[in-house]
Symmetry: none
Subunit: 168 residues, 2 copies
DNA sequence: CGATCTATTTATAAGAA
DNA sequence: TTTCTTATAAATAGATC
């Protein structure tokens, strides 16, 4: 997609390769998010940038976490990853281990959630249409807020926010 | 890409959703492979098909493995996935207690963050003053959004949200 | 279900700024 | 370098088989 076909082999020119990496990586992350949303499936994408900083890019569909994904992958493939053996720290308390595992999962889920809401994960470039949409939503909320001001009493405007979430 | 725009929300029609899932899943897998080859990077993609068979689709770049990918993911994010190995042994470590405490703190922080972004926390008792404030903030964001629309180009609307958070 | 066949929308490779 | 532009290659929605 672009001016001229692209050979499916490693791009040797450093500059082009980096440029392509950035573009395609963003595109891939975007499409991963779209697939998850459109089809309501769980998925995860991990991309390592070995150059220099050794960054990591990843996407994990809403309502799941890498912990869960890996767990499911293991159960389906029957492959067990054997990391983190802690031979010298065997727990006396199953309960503790369980709690640790639960907490880690919970944390993963929340982190993913935060990343998504922050927009770190899904670099959807704002299109005019998206801005229009955002504007409309804002106006919706604003309208409701103003209407509330008219009433003498109300319990909570949470309902407004939840009914017409701007940042969903 | 296709006849008509596609709303970025779950496709409700079963037939369309499945068709789309098939097409986009193949497309995504293909692009993952292309990115890995063109840019010579390590990456992995996991897609679960929860419908019926509960199939799994995945791609892992050449010269690496899911084990490695997960290992690297762990080392970068500092997450420890401890599946399959709940030694009911004996633990001793204060280390565990420490970890538990750390994780709880982390979780609480993230939960708060999520709540804030969702707007759940806020306004249980909306006073007139608070409504005024909210209104003003909404207008602020709305203004920025409209200003963005004037520009021909922009990168992401995230900046607006982050710069002028309504529900902070 | 997949495989095909367009009409359109997207993604992007090269350049340009 | 990062960003923006633009010509083109690709992906894919919807219809059909």
């Amino acid at each position: 997609m672009g001016r001229g076909r692209t050979e499916m082999k490693r791009i040797h020119n450093d500059v082009s390769r980096r440029a392509t990496f950035g573009k395609r990586r963003r595109g891939l992350l975007k499409k991963a998010g779209e697939l998850a949303v459109l089809c309501g499936v769980d998925l995860g994408l991990l991309v390592f940038d070995d150059g220099g900083a050794g960054k990591l890019f990843d996407y994990c569909s809403p309502s799941t976490s890498w912990s869960e994904l890996i767990e499911r992958y293991e159960s389906i493939t029957n492959h067990k990853f054997q990391f983190q053996f802690q031979f010298q720290g065997i727990d006396h308390d199953d309960d503790d281990q369980q709690q640790l595992a639960d907490l880690r999962r919970e944390r993963d889920r929340l982190e993913a959630s935060v990343r998504r809401q922050t927009g770190e994960d899904l670099p959807f470039a704002a299109t005019a249409a998206e801005l229009d949409d955002l504007e409309q939503r804002l106006e919706c909320v604003l309208g409701e807020v103003r209407e509330m001001k008219v009433h003498t009493s109300y319990t909570a405007h949470n309902s407004v926010l939840l009914t017409c979430p701007v940042f969903e």
